[in-house]
Amino acid sequence: AAGVIQSPRHLIKEKRETATLKCYPIPRHDTVYWYQQGPGQDPQFLISFYEKMQSDKGSIPDRFSAQQFSDYHSELNMSSLELGDSALYFCASSLYSGAGGYTFGSGTRLTVV
């Protein structure tokens, strides 16, 4: 069965650089969520999209932005990277209908040096 695909799997950037993370949800899933997980931490919600519109916003820094495209894939853009942005970034997708089926991707490990 198709899963949530994230790319790249690993990314190394220097301070003040820009990074773009991509997420391809499970086919027919209409909602995408982005989470950030620091070492030894629980995943923290960043932002979500339903039918290409932002549906909720969490602790996402102003330096970050995201969008969902017409094919439902989503991109998280991160600018002016800081050392503290180093983390695992997960994307999850679900059906808004409330089936409760949140499926996570394998994540992108971002390292800022």
Partner: protein
């Protein structure tokens, strides 16, 4: 402020034993409570979930017990195996609250099953 509190932070259980992880929540708008299993470097994977209209759900060796009045729920892993060693997160979500369906995670429990 942690909306979903999870304990213990770490747990060591002998093979064949019962692993028990507890969670408590405050927000009565939560209406779906999943548990996730996460291996190092991997994304959280849905293990089992429950809605507040039932008090217990069992799937294989995994059981969720839910106490709505106390706003507590727990995961029991029976006959724990070394392959169960992972970090477990409880979570809660308000699916009926449009625009607020994000998962709120507990702080995680690192489970180690020893032979």
């Amino acid at each position: 402020q942690q909306q979903v509190k999870q304990s213990p932070q770490s747990l060591i259980v002998q093979k064949g034993g019962i692993s028990i992880i507890n969670c408590a929540y405050e927000n009565t708008a939560f209406d779906y409570f999943p548990w996730y299993q996460q291996f190092p470097g991997k994304g959280p994977a849905l293990l089992i979930a429950i809605r507040p209209d039932v008090s217990e759900k069992k799937e294989g060796r995994f059981t969720i017990s839910f106490n709505k009045s106390a706003k507590q729920f727990s995961l029991h892993i029976m006959d724990s195996q070394p392959g169960d060693s992972a970090t477990y997160f409880c979570a809660a979500v308000s699916e009926s609250n449009f625009g607020n369906e994000k998962l709120t995670f507990g702080t995680g429990t690192r489970l180690t099953i020893i032979p």
